[in-house]
């Protein structure tokens, strides 16, 4: 897959700029088609576009890795040691973006989070947690068990028995997490289908909102599990 394709249809929303070196037209590709010089990152860019992908959530990991290797070879600062400072900085900018993009897109969860953040549905850094309503009872029981364990440690109660219960609860929640992840994957396919079929804003917006909700629940469950494991590690 070639990196600079001047004949490629211009990606929507990306302004045509001129190459800093030869003034030829560049459409956000990594290198100028005419003179081959590395280009600055344009505004309105995103990690998907960086890899020449559309904003779809299903990505073949082997293909992504292959692209990562090809782009690494071309963009790495090693190629620009003899170039001027301007180009060296561009290389630093692009290769760090490449690495950040790969790191994010490679894991399904961070991929979804990124998409939602980029589309303004989710605010970066704020992990909202939402207790899944169907699990409320289990969560309640779990918190009770945790309290009891802490008391038992202090008073010398049946720590072993309580640990056993918590272990089971942790396993239970891990399974729930796996279910949530599977659900998210399915939603990912829904999203991709929506993109392919040119679904309207309302449909896409609704899908995004549902995915956001799932991410919040996932956060909650993950924190629960982490909390339990931390408590178990202590005794």
């Amino acid at each position: 897959m070639s990196i600079s394709q001047p004949q490629k249809k211009r990606a929507e929303g990306v302004p045509v700029a001129s190459c800093w070196n030869c003034k030829g037209a560049v459409t956000g590709a990594h290198f100028c088609a005419a003179c081959g010089k590395i280009q600055p990152l344009p505004g309105g860019w995103d990690y998907f576009r960086f890899f020449g992908l559309s904003q779809k959530l299903t990505i073949d990991p082997a293909e992504l890795e292959g692209q990562f290797h090809i782009l690494s070879w071309k963009l790495h600062p090693d190629n620009f040691v003899l170039a001027g400072e301007f180009e060296r900085n561009l290389s630093l900018e692009r290769s760090s973006e490449l690495n950040d993009a790969y790191r994010t897109l490679r894991e399904p969860i961070s991929r979804v989070e990124y998409l939602l953040e980029h589309l303004g549905v989710r605010k970066e850094g704020t992990t909202k947690q939402q207790a899944p309503p169907e699990l409320l009872e289990e969560v309640f029981e779990l918190n009770e068990s945790l309290d009891e364990l802490r008391e038992a440690r202090a008073d010398g109660g049946d720590v072993a028995g309580l640990r056993g219960r918590l272990d089971a609860a942790a396993v239970n929640f891990q399974e729930k997490l796996a279910e949530v992840d599977a659900g998210l994957e399915a939603m990912g396919h829904e999203w991709d289908a929506a993109i392919d079929s040119g679904a309207d804003d309302a449909t896409r917006g609704a899908l995004l909102a549902r995915m956001n909700e799932v991410l919040n629940r996932r956060s909650y469950i993950r924190n629960l599990v982490a909390g339990v494991q931390k408590e178990l590690a202590e005794a």
Partner: protein, 614 residues
């Protein structure tokens, strides 16, 4: 433009290598004694001359207070960090040390980068003599687990030595580079690098693309305070206890004895890699007795078991981070002198369920890899690419002293993160940012990297919007750039490193160093001759003081004393040939005395004067 080289700046030994254009293979450059290994030891003469390498190592015995080894352990660290080291290393830290350590050698103080710079300059001079051309650029290797301050200190050292540092390369990655050339392997490789002072484990993936080979580091872990030195210290502690118990002497009170003991024990350690048991050369004690440590391999392995065990913890963590199991590792490579120890090879082999590779000289392999990378960077032509990672998570301190991680550990570098900062209270004119490295949750448990302030005009809280871009470059060193989002202007940021020498101080050091011009051949000969003279004089004085020396005649004693005096006189002058001939004369004059002492020592040993039960 001068020549380009690759340098392994090691804890115990340093090496310099280059790419031989004719063979297309990297090659180490030998020093004046024919060895490619330059001991990382620096000594300061009374005249202020700096001596590096073999000559300096000899001075560890004669002038321990003017000589330093393992300075790599001090690079990029603060005084508080090294307190535990001071108990087992004879570092003399100047009380005036602030955020950069100052070490006392003789009556002068030096920072660790300055001392490392002397080692680099020595290697540079080897290369310049070898090529008969100037050398001005280098790739220098660092432990993969070195943090930002430690890397910056290494870069500073390069600069002080008059070298443009093209790149800092991680030692295991460099070894993989050298190894890959040799073996043309593909797949997952674990590089286990156990050196003099540091331990690194790196898990790499070797990929072949149509353009060339990529060495992609998947994860790295390690301990910047775990090495052969720790094994030496265990031996030393055990010997110290014995000497105290059976000879009633506290070794720590005699710095010269400490160094002689260290030298003997290191040789013993090396021998135990080849033989099942060994005896160290006798170390004369102040009461005339001779201490000879004997050890068999079994006991040695029991002694060092915990040190070797400690190396396996980062190995497990690195595999977990790489999301690989032991079975998925195709090759294991051993790097560093300490991997010659049979227990190490056995432990690593058992863990990875395969025989580790050590065909390449574990001492040279890192320098060779650095030379390969140096060649790539010089010509801009690459046949291979190193994709390395940052070993530690980068974070910023947030409210409550909690660290928010912005770049996770084992991220491929270059890596970046953007953070938006704003004011918290009305009319706040400066936003403080504290950058840290580490995996812990609280700032106080992480490594402080740097602090800086973002200046902003007074206004309502939350109005200011300054975007800070944190970038970890290909060297693994942090760069910071800030932009005011409202004006879209670059916002200058003055970063205060938590540990390290400021730029102004480096400039000053560079100016001062020009005064200490490169030494020419005759100077070097003179220094070496003087050093040798000191060694033999010290030995003579000690021998004459030995109780058994009464056996020699007073005429002989007079002859020795006169010869010694002549040598001392010669030392004051600039004629190194004269010094050498006087050394020969003194050697002749003390031949008989040496024999007498040797016989006496053997007798003592045979009289069953117990030194070691094993």
């Amino acid at each position: 433009m001068g020549r380009v080289v690759g340098i392994d700046l090691g804890t115990t030994f340093s090496l310099i290598a280059y790419m031989d254009a004719q063979t297309s293979a990297p090659k180490c450059i030998p020093g004046p004694h024919g060895s490619a290994l330059c001991p990382s030891v620096v000594s300061v003469d009374r005249d202020g001359e700096i001596i590096v390498g073999d000559a300096a190592r000899q001075r560890l015995l004669t002038q321990p207070d003017r000589t330093i080894y393992s300075v790599k352990r001090l690079m990029g660290r603060g005084v508080a960090d090294v307190q535990s080291e001071l108990k087992i290393f004879p570092f003399r830290i100047d009380p005036d040390s602030d955020n950069v350590i100052r070490v006392r050698l003789g009556d002068r103080t030096f920072t660790p980068p300055e001392i490392s710079a002397y080692i680099l300059r020595e290697l540079k001079s080897w290369a310049e003599k070898y090529f008969n051309e100037p050398v001005d650029r280098a790739v220098i290797t660092v432990p993969a687990y070195f943090n930002d301050a430690q890397r910056q200190a290494t870069k500073d050292a390069g600069r002080l030595a008059g070298l443009e540092v093209l790149r800092l390369v991680n030692e295991p990655t460099a070894a993989a580079l050298a190894y890959g050339l040799h073996k043309q392997k593909r797949g997952h490789v674990a590089v286990y690098d156990f050196g003099g002072g540091t331990f690194d484990i790196s898990i790499l993936k070797l990929i072949s693309t149509t353009e060339g080979d990529i060495y992609q580091v998947l994860s790295t872990n390690g301990d910047t305070h775990l090495g052969g030195d720790d094994i030496d210290n265990l031996l030393r502690a055990s010997a110290r206890d014995e000497i105290l118990r059976y000879h009633g002497i506290d070794v720590d009170q005699h710095p010269q004895l400490v160094q002689e003991l260290r030298k003997a024990l290191i040789t013993l350690k090396h021998e135990l890699s080849h033989y099942d048991s060994a005896t160290a050369e006798g170390v004369p004690l102040s009461n005339g007795e001779l201490f000879k440590k004997s050890l068999n391999r079994e006991t040695f392995e029991q002694l060092i078991g915990t040190v070797v065990g400690r190396t396996m913890v980062p190995v497990r963590l690195a595999l977990a981070d790489a999301k690989l199991t032991v079975k998925q590792i195709d090759e294991v490579v051993l790097v560093g002198g300490s991997t010659r120890i049979p227990l190490v090879r056995k432990t690593v082999g058992e863990y990875f369920e395969r025989a580790p590779h050590c065909e390449l000289d574990p001492d040279e392999v890192v320098a060779l890899g650095a030379a390969v990378q140096a060649d790539i960077l010089e010509t801009g032509v690459k046949t291979m690419l190193l994709l390395d990672v940052t070993p530690l998570s980068l974070g910023i301190e947030t409210m409550g002293g909690v660290v928010a991680k912005i770049i996770p550990r084992n991220s491929t570098i270059p890596a970046s993160a953007q953070e938006l900062f704003t004011t918290g209270v009305e009319n706040q004119t400066a936003i403080d940012v504290h950058v840290l490295q580490g995996e812990r949750e609280l700032a106080k448990d992480c490594r402080s990297l740097a602090r800086f302030q973002l200046k902003t005009p007074p206004g309502p809280a939350g109005l200011a919007r300054i975007e800070v871009k944190f970038l970890i470059d290909a060297n693994g060193i942090l760069q910071v750039a800030a932009r005011d989002m409202r004006t879209n202007e670059q916002h200058t940021v003055e970063v205060q490193p938590s540990y390290g020498i400021s730029d102004t101080d480096i400039e000053r050091m560079l100016e001062e160093s020009i005064e200490y011009a490169e030494q020419d051949f005759a100077d070097r000969q003179l220094i070496e001759a003087r050093t040798e003279a000191e060694t033999i004089i010290a030995a003579t004085v000690k021998a004459l003081a030995d109780p058994r020396a009464t056996e020699i005649s007073s005429d002989e004693r007079k002859a020795i004393t006169e010869s010694e005096a002549e040598l001392r006189t010669a030392m004051l002058g600039p004629d190194y040939k004269l010094i050498r001939s006087r050394i020969d004369e003194l050697n002749k004059a003390t031949e008989h005395l040496a024999e007498v002492l040797m016989n006496g020592a053997l007798q003592t040993a045979f009289e069953g004067k117990r030194l070691d039960d094993v």
